[in-house]
C-alpha cells in the first residue's frame, strides 16, 4: 500500500495573485478511487486549489509541489496531465452537437476514429442520456440537468484516472441535485476513478465524500472523513460551517478525573480533557443541537451539564423539532438550539412552549473542544 504513491499529493502549496494570497500551505493526499471533496465558502481558495491541480495555475516559486501519481506536475499544462474536469457552468462547446462535444477529447487525444462513436455511445449511456434522442442535439436545446450529464460524459469518455468537478451541481434544482449526487457517488465506486470535488454545499460534501478538506481563508482548516468533520470539528469555523452548532465558552477552573470544570458566563460545565486546556485557559466547546436535551429546571439528568434559560420558540421541522432556549451570556443572552426527535405532535406533543423556564443539558463527553478558543 505504502509503495503506491497517492494519486494526488499537495505538499506545502502556496499561490498568490499579486498581493492576494489565494491559497496558503495546502497539504493533502488523495488515494486511488477516493471521493475527495474540497469544501468551503466562496473565496476560501477551493477553486484555486482545483485549478492548481488541473494545471490552469502554477504554484508560486518555491511554493510547494503538486504531484499526480507521484510525479511533480507544477509546470505541466492541463493537456499534459491526462485528467478530466467538469466545469461549474458546464463549458459545453455551443457550436458542437452533444456527440461532437463528447468526442472532442478523444479526437484531441488521437483516438482512432473507428473507436470514437462506440465510446461516445457508452459514455452517454453511463450518464443515462439516450444516444438516439440526444446525440445530435445542440447544447442550447438541452435542459440544465441534461447539459450537466453531457459535461460529465465528455469527461468520463476519456476514462481518466482523476476526475475534477468544480461545483457541478450548483445550477440545477434540488431534487435533480440529490439524484445526481447519488449517481456521481455510484460512478465513482463503479469506475474506480478518483473524484476531486469542489463544493460550498456542506450537505453535498457529507453525502458524497470519502474524505473532505474543509477550507477557510486560503488554508485547509480540517481534513477528515465526513463523520470526523461533523462530529469532531476542530475549529469554530468548521463547527459553524458544517451543520449547526451551539457554542459555550468559559475559563478552565480545575481538573477532575474525566476532564476539566469550566466556569462559563451562563453557568458551570464540564468538558473532556484536551491538550489545549490548561489551568485558567479559555475554553470553547461546540455542541450539536441533537446532542443537547431540554429539561425542566428541577429534573436535570444526573451527571449532565445544565445551563438555565427560557424557551423562546419551538420550530416544527418534520423529522425533528427545534426548541430555542435563551440562556444568559455575560451581560446579554444567547440562543441555544436543541433538536428534539418528533414523536408525533398530534398524539404526543412536546410540552415546551414559549416562556417556559428550562435547562439545556448534555453529557460532558458529548461536546467538541475547539482549538481556537
Amino acid at each position: 500500500m505504502s509503495d503506491i504513491p497517492p494519486v494526488v499529493e499537495f505538499t506545502g502549496v502556496h499561490k498568490t495573485f499579486g498581493a492576494y494570497r489565494a491559497v496558503v500551505d495546502i497539504n493533502f493526499q488523495v488515494q486511488k478511487g477516493e471521493f475527495f471533496s474540497i469544501l468551503g465558502p466562496s473565496g476560501c481558495g477551493k477553486t484555486t486549489t482545483l485549478r492548481l491541480l488541473a494545471g490552469f495555475e502554477e504554484p508560486d516559486d518555491n511554493g510547494g509541489t503538486v504531484r499526480i501519481a507521484g510525479e511533480v506536475v507544477n509546470k505541466k499544462r492541463p493537456y499534459e496531465r491526462n485528467l478530466a474536469m467538469v466545469f461549474q457552468n458546464y463549458a459545453l462547446f455551443p457550436h458542437l452537437s452533444v456527440e461532437r462535444n463528447i468526442a472532442f477529447g478523444l479526437e484531441m487525444r488521437k483516438v482512432p476514429s473507428a473507436e470514437i462513436p462506440p465510446r461516445v455511445k457508452k459514455a452517454m449511456e453511463m450518464v443515462r442520456l439516450d444516444p438516439g434522442q440526444f446525440a445530435r442535439r445542440m447544447p442550447a436545446q438541452l435542459s440544465g440537468g441534461q447539459r450537466q450529464r453531457v459535461a460529465l460524459a465528455r469527461a468520463l469518455v476519456l476514462e481518466p484516472t482523476i476526475l475534477l468537478l468544480d461545483e457541478p451541481l450548483g445550477a440545477i434544482d434540488l431534487k435533480l441535485r440529490k439524484e445526481m449526487q447519488l449517481e456521481l457517488k455510484q460512478l465513482n465506486k463503479q469506475l474506480g476513478t478518483t473524484f476531486v470535488y469542489v463544493t460550498h454545499d456542506q450537505e453535498e460534501a457529507l453525502t458524497m465524500s470519502d474524505r473532505i478538506a474543509v477550507m477557510d481563508n486560503a488554508r485547509v482548516a480540517q481534513l477528515g472523513t465526513p463523520a470526523e468533520i461533523y462530529e469532531c470539528p476542530r475549529t469554530r469555523f468548521v463547527a459553524k460551517f458544517i451543520g449547526e452548532s451551539n457554542f459555550f465558552e468559559g475559563v478552565a477552573q480545575s481538573q477532575g478525573p474525566d476532564g476539566w470544570r469550566v466556569d462559563g458566563s451562563g453557568g458551570r460545565f464540564e468538558v473532556p480533557a484536551h491538550p489545549s486546556i490548561t489551568q485558567g485557559s479559555k475554553v470553547a466547546i461546540a455542541v450539536r443541537p441533537e446532542w443537547l436535551d431540554v429539561a425542566p429546571p428541577d429534573a436535570v439528568p444526573p451527571g449532565e451539564n445544565a445551563i438555565r434559560g427560557t424557551v423562546t420558540d419551538v420550530i416544527y421541522l418534520g423529522e425533528t423539532l427545534h426548541v430555542l432556549v435563551a440562556v444568559a451570556d455575560g451581560e446579554g443572552e444567547r440562543r441555544v438550539t436543541v433538536a428534539v426527535r418528533n414523536e408525533g405532535q398530534l398524539s404526543r406533543p412536546i410540552r415546551w412552549s414559549k416562556g417556559d423556564a428550562a435547562v439545556v443539558c448534555w453529557k460532558p463527553a458529548d461536546c467538541q473542544v475547539l482549538e481556537d478558543a
Partner: protein, 297 residues
Amino acid sequence: MNPFALRQRALAWFHRHKETQAWALLAPGFGWLVLFFLVPIVIMFAYSVMPRGEYGGVERGFTLEHYARFMDPLYIKILWRTLEDSTICTVACLLTGYPVAYVIARATKWRNFLMFLVILPFWTSFLVRTFAMIFLLRDTGLINTMLLKLGVITEPILMLYTPFAVMLGLVYGFLPFMILPIYASLEKLDLSLLEAAEVLGAKPMARFFRVTLPLSMPGVVAGSLLVFIPALGSFLTSDLLGGAKEIMIGNLVQNQFTTARNWPFGSAASFIVMALVLVAVMIYLRVRDRDTELGAH
C-alpha cells in the same frame, strides 16, 4: 378632463391595441427608410429602363438597352476586376484585422484604449484620410523620403497611382469594419470553453481552430460583408490613389452620373452590381444556415 387622466386613457388605449403601439414606435424609422431608401431605389430602377435624354436625364419610354450595353466585355472586365479587388481587400482585412481584434479582446487593461485607437480614424472624413495617404505614398512622400535618408533605397519607389496604393487605401479604409464585429464576437467568447478544451487535450493551435475560430465566425461573416460590399461600390480610393488609371465599377457609375451624363446607364450598372451582391449574400447566408441546421439535427 385633466392631463393626467388623459394620459392614463391614452396609455390604456395603447395597451389594448398592442399592434398600433408597435407601428407607432416603428413609424419614424420606417418612414425614413421608405423616403430615403426605397423611393430613390424605385426611381433609379425606373431610370435604368428608360431611354437616355438628349441633355442628360431620361425620356419617356421603356428600353433594356442599358442592361444590354453593360454586357460589353469592357464593362464585364471592370466588374470582374472590381469583384477581384473587393475579394482581395476583404481577405487582407480579415488576415490583418483578426489578430488585432483577438489581441484587443484579450487585453483586459488596455482594451478600451485600443478600441479607441481603432475607431479614431472615423473622426476624420474618409476623403481627408485618403488624401493623407497621398502624402505618405508619393515619390517625395514620407515613406520614400525616410527610406532615401536611411539609404535603404537610392531612388524613390513608385507607390502612388499603382494598384498597390489602391489596395492599401481600401484595406486602410475598411479595416475597422472588420475589426469591430470580430472583436465583438471574440470579446463575449466564454474563456472557460478554452479551459475545457485544454483539459480535454487541445494544444494552442487546436484550441484556436476548433473553438475560438468557429465561435467567432459570426463576427468574421459580419466583418467580411461590411468590408466586401462597400469595397465593391468604392470609387474615391481608386480615383485618388490609383490616379483613375484602372477604374472600378464605382468609378464607372460615378462617371455616368457626372461627366458622361448618362443616368440610365449608370442606374443599370448600379442595379447589376446590387443584384450580384444580393445574390452572393443570399447564397452565403443559405450555405451558413444549412451548416447550422446540419449541426442541429
